[in-house]
Subunit: 112 residues, 4 copies
């Protein structure tokens, strides 16, 4: 049974309109969107690369870094939703199916 | 004004419980999650790297590749939601703010 | 003045022949090679993602991980040399120029 | 038998001194260097993400893009050599071993 775990329909509609009125659809092949997604994730990684794990937990204390982190997370989500649309994938179904398999693959620690 | 464009609260709750009962929280620093996100995005990129853009548009025709694509998109979303949680970022607010700035930065094509 | 800091000519020749006799040249556009490079780097990142920095310094103690690390480093170098060739870039010149600018940009610590 | 395919010893020595006099060694764990490598590769990918494969073959025609490409290739090589040093891996040996296995794994096209 598929639970409603994520709902990105409204974002999907907004992005579709956004690309159409900018004539960007011609560039949005899955291949190109996957590359763009890589770029955005790497901008996230760059924020953390010279920090210790401990420091990485408190990046939000600096307002400028906190802003950068929010922007990069947003960009990753935006390209992810565009890529899923270009591939005609329902992200909610995909996540449900993946979690079901993860639950079998990684049993819970009985002591937790 | 913040619109409701994405809702990942249910997924966030499921992932939180999933990690807790597997004692994975200790590994889930933002630094580590950002690295894991990179890994998942690259598995997506690998699917497309030797395809032409045209071929990339029809990967879903092969059922095995379609399955791989769904799984990798799900994994990216899962780590993205975990990373946003670890950083205490509201993805819906972050996306709203980013889109507002993108709209100013990239004006629509008046002829579109 | 350009110093001889790296020499990849022999590798370049071997890779050129390797691709030719496998008819891979058609796939080796800079765009595709850049994607492939991403994939190889991510396989490196995956080795380290759940390790602490301290643990990452001693991955070579496990022979299987040491082998994986060597293989992934080799793959990154192979695609880097192929990409430089596809773009007609002399890596030794490029590195010399970059280091000269880095030296100006990041002054040495006088106490070091 | 190990052939001399790549020689990065002089670059390795220069980078070692460069980091030492800037007191950067503390940051150069394999984990961090792998992250930095990801970032540099993604800057390369960003150059190509919206280009067609055909366009990607001629990026060097624009002098500014050609410069960007040379810089990013240099950065990838720099971090790769630093990471290999941090892991005590001989890149020439690693490449020789990898190519030997690739030759067995991917037979040549007899018609080529």
């Amino acid at each position: 049974m598929t639970e409603q775990l994520v709902d990105v329909k409204a974002l999907d509609a907004v992005l579709h309109r956004f690309s159409r009125v900018r004539r960007w659809e011609q560039y949005h092949s899955p291949k190109n969107l996957a590359m763009a997604l890589t770029g955005e994730v790497s901008e996230l990684v760059e924020i953390f690369q010279w920090l210790t794990e401990e420091q990485s937990r408190s990046v939000a204390k600096d307002p400028q870094t906190a802003q950068a982190v929010r922007d990069e997370l947003a960009d990753v989500l935006i390209y992810l939703v565009e890529l899923a649309a270009a591939l005609d994938v329902d992200l909610n179904e995909a996540v449900n199916a993946k979690l079901a398999r993860n639950a079998l693959k990684y049993p819970a620690d009985p002591a937790a």
